[in-house]
Every structure is written in structure tokens, then in C-alpha cells.
């Protein structure tokens, strides 16, 4: 037993280091994205993920590489955790040819088919039916993959959410809908927008298993997600998970972190439960992490993000001929030949 416990704790330590690394990478990446935006290297809308890192890391750590992930326009963190290289994400933000969609998408539209990352989508709720369709396709093919669909809490009041959950419940589709409840849809507090405060309860309206979890606790998020994944793979049923989190920055780069719709005091209160600090403390208490090890990890991550920045900065702009590329796909001529 002692041996088994030892190997378990070794495996735990490796996993915990991965989780911490994953969260810290997102944090450092987004801090530099904010800097690049201020310098004018990133244009358009830019929605940062700072504060919510345990959601992407915790949920995605329970997935397989052949599962599918689809998300909203707040997608940098989700893309990084899914395995889109930091260089490709940063180059996309810079609007360069080496970006993950070659400069066609920008901050809100990261895609990478090599890791089944089905994109960042810009219309609130618009991607939820797409996830339902991915679940339908998995069932159609008889596979045991799952599709995870992230959304902000504001999306649950729109028709797309309800239409999707109804079909997923009706047809038992392996989709896990994850509400990242960061409390504000842009500047509107969820209490001012939803007639139901416990958003996960909406799953019950559609016979979908529901759960809620502390989104600042990466292990709790992972555990809740693992249960949903098991349901999806085993019984091919959908789940709705409400993850309680908070964003430490404005809705996008164009608004202040606090001052209008929320107070500085509220922000500071939530910052006390920073997911990275909380998990770092857990690891230190368990003897898995020293200050020196953390500092080293942080240094390596900062170097990797700097490398992504340099790569993006040196990547060329897309060639002008790319303007008309990928409007339509070629249809193979052999399928169009008359039999």
C-alpha cells in the first residue's frame, strides 16, 4: 500500500505541476496581450481571461485529445490550454500570417483543427447550437468522444441556449455545456439579467444533469468535469455545469476593471481567491512546490511568452492575395462527374 500511495502522490505531483503551469501560462500570456494591445500591436476587440484560468485548465484536464472544444470570443486561455501554441495565438492577435488562422480571425476567432479546437465565436450564444451539432455527429458515428461548450453566464438567457439544451436532452447527446459565470455580461450583473440566480438549475428544464462548482479551485473544477465526461462517454448524456468564477479585468480592453458597474472593493475581494495563488498554496502545503520551483516555472513561462511575442512581431502580415482565399472551399471535381 505504501508503494502505491507513493506512486500516486508522484503522479499527483506531476499532474499538479501541469495544472499550475497551464494556469500560469494563461495569466502571463494575457498580461502581455494587454501590454501589446496598449502598444497598438493588437487591434479590434480583445477580451482577456485573467481570473478565470482554473476553469479552462480544470475542465480541459479531464478531456482526451480526440474530444472537441468550442468556446466564445474570450478564447485565448481556452486555446492555449487546448494546445494551440502560444506563438500561434500571439501571432493571431498581432494579425500575422503565422497566427493560428493566418490573421483572418484575431482575438475572437482562434481555431486549430489539429487539436479539435472548434473556435472562438463572436455572437453571444451563437456557438451553442454548433456544440450540439458536434455532439449529434459523435452519436451519429457511434463514437465515445465528448464536446465541451464554454459560454459566459449571459448566454443562458438567449434562445440558442434553450434550443440547444432541449435537443441535447431530448436526443441524449454527449455535450458538456460549461457556464463560466464571471458575474457580469459586459457591465450587466447576472442578477439584473436572469430570473434564476442558480443558473445550473436550468439544466433540469431539459432533463440534463447539472452541477455547480467553485471555479477558483482547479481541482474541484477538474473533478466535477470528470464526472460529466464520464456521463457523456458512458451514457451519452449531456451535462450543464455552472462554474463560479470572476474576471479581474474589464469586459474587453476598452473598459476599466472597476468603477462603473462594479466596485474596486468587490474586485479586491475576489482577487483574494486568485485561482493560481490558491492552488500554489495547496501544492506548497502538500510539499509539492517550493518558492524556488515556482519562481523557476514562472521564469520559464515568461520566457515562453516573450518568445511568442518575438515570434509574432517578426511574423509577416498576411499577403494581400490571402484576402480572397478561403471564401469558398474547392469541391473535388471527381464527385461532380456524372455517373
Amino acid at each position: 500500500m505504501a508503494t502505491k500511495k507513493k506512486s500516486d502522490s508522484k503522479a499527483d505531483a506531476a499532474l499538479y505541476h501541469e495544472l499550475l503551469h497551464s494556469m500560469l501560462l494563461q495569466r502571463r500570456f494575457e498580461e502581455r496581450a494587454a501590454e501589446a494591445y496598449a502598444l497598438g500591436k493588437i487591434g479590434g476587440f480583445c477580451h482577456l481571461y485573467i481570473g478565470q484560468e482554473a476553469v479552462s485548465t480544470g475542465t480541459q484536464s479531464a478531456l482526451r485529445s480526440d474530444d472537441y472544444v468550442i468556446t466564445t470570443y474570450r478564447d485565448h486561455g481556452q486555446a492555449l490550454v487546448r494546445g494551440v501554441p502560444p506563438r500561434a495565438v500571439m501571432a493571431e492577435l498581432f494579425g500575422r500570417v503565422d497566427g493560428c488562422v493566418h490573421g483572418k480571425g484575431g482575438s475572437m476567432h482562434m481555431f486549430d483543427s489539429s487539436v479539435n479546437f472548434l473556435g472562438g465565436h463572436g455572437i453571444v450564444g451563437g456557438h451553442i447550437p454548433l456544440a450540439t451539432g458536434v455532439g449529434f455527429a459523435i452519436k451519429y458515428r457511434g463514437g465515445d468522444q465528448v464536446c465541451v461548450c464554454y459560454m459566459g453566464e449571459a448566454a443562458v438567457n438567449g434562445g440558442a441556449f434553450h434550443e440547444s439544451l432541449n435537443m441535447a436532452g431530448l436526443w441524449k447527446l454527449p455535450v458538456i455545456y460549461v457556464i463560466e459565470n464571471n458575474k457580469y455580461g459586459m457591465g450587466t450583473a447576472i442578477e439584473r439579467a436572469s430570473s434564476i440566480k442558480e443558473l445550473y438549475k436550468r439544466g433540469g428544464s431539459y432533463s440534463i444533469a447539472d452541477a455547480t462548482v467553485d471555479g477558483q479551485d482547479v481541482l474541484a473544477v477538474r473533478e466535477t468535469m470528470a464526472e460529466a465526461v464520464e456521463r457523456a462517454r458512458g451514457e451519452q448524456t449531456a451535462s450543464l455545469i455552472e462554474v463560479q468564477t470572476y474576471r479581474y479585468v474589464g469586459h474587453s480592453m476598452s473598459d476599466a476593471a472597476s468603477g462603473t458597474y462594479r466596485t474596486k472593493a468587490e474586485l479586491e475581494e475576489y482577487e483574494k481567491r486568485d485561482p493560481i495563488n490558491l492552488f500554489r498554496a495547496v501544492m506548497q502545503k502538500a510539499g509539492m512546490l517550493t518558492d524556488a520551483e515556482y519562481a523557476k516555472m514562472d521564469e520559464q513561462i515568461k520566457a515562453a511568452v516573450q518568445d511568442a511575442w518575438d515570434f509574432a512581431d517578426n511574423s509577416p502580415e498576411p499577403p494581400l492575395e490571402a484576402l480572397y482565399e478561403h471564401v469558398l472551399a474547392e469541391t473535388a471535381s471527381d464527385v461532380l462527374v456524372e455517373a
Binding site: F111, I123, L130, G133, E163, N166, M167, H326, V327
Partner: protein, 326 residues
């Protein structure tokens, strides 16, 4: 050659393509147990089962998006809208998801999907059930938009649409489903983006599409009695549009009438006229005249509806006008 209805031509196209490729499935309201609101999918549930012929709740946005999502990961959905009038609820999925996915994913996710259903006015269905959508859809890069007007075109073009790697909007017609025409046995395909000269003449070109092809042919028959022989150019596909076919006809006849089912402003005809003025300016003997729906929501009363719709008489008057006969 066998003569069959437009409805059966569509049915045969669906059936043949579902037999050919098991990634193809049909989804929409009443497509299965009910055999289709207009019976286009009759018998398909029995033949292919409920995973491939999927009855949905009344939830256009939801099932259109479901189709797009399934197409992202390898299926080839055919989404039936009971009518395109209901598809307005799903337009976010058609425009923001299906049409833009390939481009905004940098070429990674093409969407091989067909959105199909009846378009435009039938008889006395009132304002909300009587609208022609082709100009809305044709406006969007990333979509193909087809409007077959005959059974022959319906079968060959729907088959091509199902095999296409892009989103294709198929605009059918409630008033077309019972029309009959020659359709050969066995498989044939009609390429998308190619117009068809439905009638050959010399005095004037009538350029049209969809349900209005039959109206144009009626007008052509009447005009022929007075010795006026017209070209009837059936665009068949309104995006991409066969600009060459328009130019070829107008350069021959030197006069053009553009006939469409929908409204005037920013309509398909406006685009056709733009192509004509660009390519055929020096060939024109008269200003181009357009025939279209009156600029009002469709009324219910029989006489008002008739007055609102484009028809053969209005088309004949337009031809006579461009020929300076009246």
C-alpha cells in the same frame, strides 16, 4: 423521357445522395414521420432510419446550428426549413456560422451543408409567409444560392448542392412542387453557377430565376404570338451569378427585362442591371426595365395579392416598353 413533378425530382435527389454517402442526413420539422410538410421527404424515414431523417422541435435557430456544428466535424447535413420565411430565425447560423466559418478559421473548417425549403409567395398566405429571400442570402460571401425553376434543374442542382463542400441555400417554391417536367432516369448533375437559356429569341432578353422562370416562359409564349421572340435566361444560381450568360444574351438582343419574385430595392435584379451596365453599355438600345413585387408586405386579399406579384402581363408590358412598342 419520364415526366415527374418538381417534388419527386427533389425527393429522388435526396434519396440518391443519401444512398451514395452515409454522412448525408436530413433534419428539419416534419421531415420524418409526417413525410415532409410538402412530402418531399416521403418514405425516407422508413428507408434510412431516424438517425438520418431527423424530426426536430420547432426550433429553426437550434437545428440549423446543429447542422453547421455537425458539418464542422465531418457530416453532410441537409437542413430543411418548412419555408424560408421561418429561416429568418436561423439566419445567424446561416450567415455568421455557416458562411463565415471557412474564412475566419483560416481555411480549416469548411461547412458542407444544404439549407433548403420553399421560398417566396404561394397563394393568399399573407405577409409573414410570402417573402422571397434570394437577395438577402445572395448578399453573403461564403454562401452559394440556387433557385431551380424546373424539375430537371431541381434534381440535378440539389445533387450538386449536396456534394458541394460549401453551404448551399436551395430556394424551392411551394407553387413549383406540383409542376411537372422531363427528368431522365438515373443520375445526372447540373453544375452550380451556370445559367440556362430556357427560350431562345432575338428581340429582347428576359433575365430571371426560380419560380419566375415559368412566368417568363408564359410571357414569351404570348409575345411570340405577336412576333416578338425573346431570350429567357434562367440564372438558376444567383450566387455565384453567371455574368457571362447575361452578357451573351443582352449583347445579342440589345434589350433586357429583369424579372424577379422579390422586392425592388437591393433586389437580385439590381445586381443583374449592374452587370448589364458594366458589360453591355454600348450594346443597349433601351434602358433596362425591372419587374418585381410591389414595394409592400404581401397582402391577403386575392385581388391585392395579384396586384402585388410580378406576373406574365407585367412582364409582357415591360418587354413592349423596352422595345418602344407602347
Amino acid at each position: 423521357m419520364p415526366v415527374i413533378t418538381y417534388r419527386d425530382a427533389l425527393h429522388d435527389a435526396l434519396r440518391e445522395e443519401m444512398q451514395r454517402d452515409d454522412r448525408v442526413f436530413l433534419i428539419g420539422e416534419e421531415v420524418g414521420v409526417y413525410n415532409g410538410a410538402y412530402k418531399v421527404s416521403k418514405g425516407l424515414l422508413e428507408e434510412f432510419g431516424e438517425m438520418r431523417v431527423v424530426d426536430t422541435p420547432i426550433t429553426e435557430l437550434g437545428f440549423a446550428g446543429l447542422g453547421v456544428g455537425s458539418a464542422m466535424v465531418g457530416l453532410r447535413p441537409i437542413v430543411e426549413f418548412m419555408t424560408w420565411n421561418f429561416a429568418l430565425l436561423a439566419l445567424d447560423q446561416v450567415v455568421n456560422a455557416a458562411a463565415k466559418m471557412l474564412y475566419m478559421s483560416g481555411g480549416q473548417y469548411n461547412i458542407p451543408i444544404v439549407f433548403r425549403g420553399p421560398n417566396g409567395a404561394a397563394l393568399q398566405l399573407g405577409a409573414q409567409h410570402s417573402q422571397a429571400w434570394e437577395s438577402w442570402l445572395a448578399h453573403i460571401p461564403g454562401l452559394k444560392v440556387i433557385t431551380p425553376g424546373t424539375p430537371y434543374d431541381a434534381k440535378g442542382m440539389l445533387k450538386s448542392a449536396i456534394r458541394d463542400e460549401n453551404p448551399v441555400c436551395v430556394l424551392e417554391g411551394e407553387m413549383l412542387y406540383n409542376t411537372r417536367g422531363e427528368v431522365p432516369d438515373g443520375e445526372y448533375l447540373i453544375p452550380l453557377g451556370k445559367a440556362d437559356l430556357k427560350r431562345e429569341g432575338e428581340h429582347c432578353s428576359i433575365i430571371t430565376n426560380g419560380k419566375m422562370v415559368l412566368v417568363a416562359l408564359q410571357a414569351a409564349d404570348q409575345l411570340a404570338k405577336d412576333g416578338i421572340r425573346v431570350d429567357v435566361v434562367d440564372l438558376r444560381t444567383v450566387r455565384p451569378m453567371d455574368v457571362e450568360a447575361i452578357g451573351e444574351s443582352v449583347k445579342k438582343t440589345n434589350r433586357a427585362v429583369v424579372l424577379e419574385e422579390g422586392w425592388e430595392i437591393a433586389g437580385i435584379g439590381a445586381q443583374v442591371v449592374d452587370y448589364i451596365q458594366r458589360d453591355c453599355f454600348d450594346y443597349l438600345d433601351a434602358p433596362v426595365v425591372r419587374v418585381h413585387q410591389a414595394d409592400v408586405p404581401m397582402p391577403y386579399a386575392k385581388n391585392l395579392e395579384k396586384a402585388a406579384k410580378p406576373d406574365a402581363a407585367k412582364t409582357i408590358a415591360a418587354v413592349r416598353k423596352v422595345m418602344y412598342l407602347d
